[in-house]
Symmetry: C2
Subunit: 495 residues, 2 copies
């Protein structure tokens, strides 16, 4: 399962009518109260809504206008650039739409216009870069000045959008909502995703990341955005500095009800012993040739492994290295930082080990520790792990721009499978050292890790560096899946 | 006098041998003590030295190595990219050269290599942008992690460099220090300045601005950099957050001894009445035609006026507007923000008044209030006015990128002339309201304003938006100079 930022968010969340109805009174009262408190606070709130689901975004905006007190709210739609705005620098529209302190503004659109213009060749990459740079600096100015910026990107898969439109057309019901633009979007969305992800990454700043909202279910969409606005606003009104506040997505529906990336992994996949040996043999042979070519063509490779304790990272890595020349690769087993490593920025030790051209670095646990164990265990402050997402994206972007082939793996197993493996390890004398009391304690935080993994995958899956989620309950299956991804990826990279 | 970032720094500072010798013992003791304290502190220090004066930068680095305790200092020269580094992403060299917490590193070079490569056409603008973007994000990561980053750009005018080399060649003394590279630099420096200024602006981040050091006098150069390092380090060791700390340039030699941009203005220039009328007539006629063409060609104009109280801004502006069509321009008199304006980011009201294409906005006092009156009077916190420089650069860059002709004027008069004008105003009934007790009080802060103006001009003079420093003791001269600059600038802009 290859995961990009956007399809990671398409986890299939929905909210039943009963849950929705029963959540409403408290939510709406909360929103009105928070707005009332905001009126005398000394910061403005800007809620930015963008997305590939135009009709959904419209419906969401209407809903927010219904739930919030419109006296303290202005809605600004940035779809068409009017005459007045075209005659001034781009950002003029934003500045003149800013809410004053104590007020809230809802900004809709704008982002997709740039995506579309770039895809249509009207706007080149340099111009997109410039536009994004000014958007980032404007956001930084507003944040430094105290503004609360909440950014939601509404994603509904193209197939869902098409299905929805066809149904509307058939029934005649609400068919008027959709027009040519929506059919075009549904048609071209899949090809647009790399550009959308690039623009989302380029317009993200520390303190104001994009939160990706799944748009398939209207109740989930409206409820999660409204809850996120309310939660972020309440936190801020309580005086928490925005850097230390929970991210907007943490205010979504009850975590237990939240569908996650991991919930979708089909853990039943297995490989029979015979087929496994054949596949292994074949994949390793291909990998050997590819690594050879990569060395000759000076293409570096970075393979990043994360996963549950006892998920089988080591076994999968050994099946990779068995196919490689000893001089070509290094495996970096990443444990808690040493006393020396702690004296540097946490990315320092990973930079240190970046492979030279033509070589392979395999990280057994990685820089993602910042947003996994350090987050869940509280070793990093919220401000630290939250800016970690951007720092990691920047690090990986530099690898990719240099020409490195980078792949990231999360090996997934069920909690039951993990328990069974712990038990087995205790019985195998040479593996007994691998299991400690702490491993059992960590299991209590399983749900917290599931949430952290979910956010990690959504925030850091990029076109150049996607996450591969591996179905690992069957070790043979995990090994073959990993090998197949590396072989495919390297083949693509080498053209 | 048109002022760019770099030639603004060429103010002619020098330190006598006696002053230098007597300053040394305390300075060196201070450096060693600060380094000792740093050893047990939890942040690293990176001192970055770049510049167009290679030999000067070398001498400076040698000096710092002599004054600092080399056990706690590493020096890394980034001139040539070695084999190891070429095979990895650019930033690998930086990351692997990072000092641990408690240590200091001196990084030399790198910046000019990129300038050179861009000028030679080896590296295009997109690549420079990408390089600068990663440099910015790396700096932000290190700053967020607590690092102290001090960046010095050493500038010695090309003529001075040439003179120095010729003298060395003639006398044979130290001629070995100079080679082909230095002659090439001296030859091409003037043409390279726009690129250097662009790269300096693009690699500047909030919390780590470039400090431009005048390299003509070696004693001034070494003393000011060492004092700045010491001052910044001591402030940081005292636990002040870096955002609120004084900027490195504030630790230079005694402000009274510091040569400033304003000290160089020739205030003796005058215009006879007859010649003035002729020039005025001629310039206004040309301006009228140019404004006409600008309107037709949709080129907007922004003219920003700053200067001492009673410097004659109003008079100069009236001589401009007298040449314009009433519908083409607006004059925005900028006073202390109103209650309403205070509810927005300080740039909001300036964005609001940005002219549409073909029109002219004249600001009588400007967004520079942030780094002038608000700084000197303490209305803005150090963190606020310090990030103001970057915010202003970004704002102006957007205007320039949009195609706007932007010119900035500081009308300079002497303190004596100001006093005389205050007196005259009190005697002229219709000007009496223009003079208050506060005006006299502000005079006490003359020196603080001189420093603020100096820093403002050095930090915000860019190729697209230079400062014009106007000699204003003679009102007629000021008006003619302003008009001439606007006419020249618009002519250039309209090609």
């Amino acid at each position: 399962m290859i995961i990009g930022m956007l399809n990671a968010a398409a986890a299939g969340n929905c909210v039943s009518k009963e849950d929705f109805t029963s959540a409403l009174p408290e939510l709406r009262l909360g929103l009105l109260n928070a707005q009332f408190d905001l009126a005398s606070a000394d910061f403005p709130v800007v809620v930015i809504i963008a997305g590939d689901d135009r009709v959904g975004a419209n419906a969401l905006v209407n809903r927010l206008n219904e739930w919030l007190d419109s006296r303290y709210l202005t809605t600004q739609v940035f779809s068409e650039v009017g005459e007045e705005a075209r005659q001034r620098p781009d950002a003029w529209r934003l500045w003149t739409s800013l809410p004053p302190k104590g007020r809230m503004a809802l900004w809709v659109g704008g982002l997709m216009r740039m995506v579309r213009a770039h895809l249509d060749g009207e706007v080149d990459r340099t111009e997109v870069d410039r536009w994004a740079k000014h958007l980032r600096s404007t956001q930084r100015m507003l944040l430094a000045d105290g503004a609360l910026l909440l950014k939601y990107y509404l994603h509904t898969p193209a197939a869902t959008q098409r299905r929805r439109m066809k149904r509307a057309k058939r029934s005649g019901d609400e068919a008027w909502r959709y027009d040519e633009r929506d059919w075009t979007m549904a048609k071209s969305l899949d090809q647009a995703i790399p550009t959308i992800e690039m623009v989302l990454a380029d317009t993200s700043v520390s303190g104001a990341p994009w939160t990706i909202i799944e748009g398939t279910d209207a109740r989930y969409r409206d409820l999660s955005v409204a809850r996120s606005i309310l939660g972020s606003l309440q936190t801020r009104l309580q005086g928490l500095p925005s850097a230390a506040a929970p991210t907007p997505s943490e205010f979504f529906v009850d975590p237990d009800q939240q569908a996650t990336v991991l919930a979708h992994v089909d853990l039943s996949r297995t490989q029979g012993a015979k087929r496994y040996r054949r596949l292994l043999e074949d994949l390793q042979a291909r990998l050997h040739l590819l690594a050879d070519e990569a060395r000759r063509r000076d293409v570096a490779t970075v393979l990043a492994f994360e996963g549950w304790d006892a998920a089988g990272k080591g076994g999968a890595i050994r099946r990779l290295t068995a196919a490689l020349e000893a001089g070509d690769y290094r495996v970096h087993a990443v444990a808690a930082p040493t006393e020396e490593e702690r004296r540097y920025h946490y990315l320092w030790r990973f930079w240190r080990d970046v492979p030279r051209d033509g070589r392979i670095a395999i990280y057994d646990r990685t820089w993602y520790g910042r947003v996994l164990v350090e987050r869940v265990e509280g070793f990093a402050t919220p401000a630290e792990w939250q800016r970690g997402f951007d720092e990691i994206l920047d690090f990986e972007q530099q690898l990719v721009e240099h020409g490195t082939y980078l792949a990231k793996f999360w090996i997934h197993i069920s909690a039951e499978e993990q328990l069974a493996r712990f038990g087995a390890r205790e019985e195998t004398s040479y593996k007994r050292h691998k299991i400690t009391e702490e491993d059992y304690r960590n299991r209590e935080k399983w749900d917290a890790y599931v949430q952290a993994v979910d956010q990690m995958v959504i925030r850091t899956s990029t076109v150049g560096a996607p996450w591969h989620i591996i179905s690992g309950n069957d070790k043979r299956n995990a090994r073959v899946e990993v090998l197949a991804h590396v072989v495919d990826g390297l083949e693509q990279r080498l053209g």
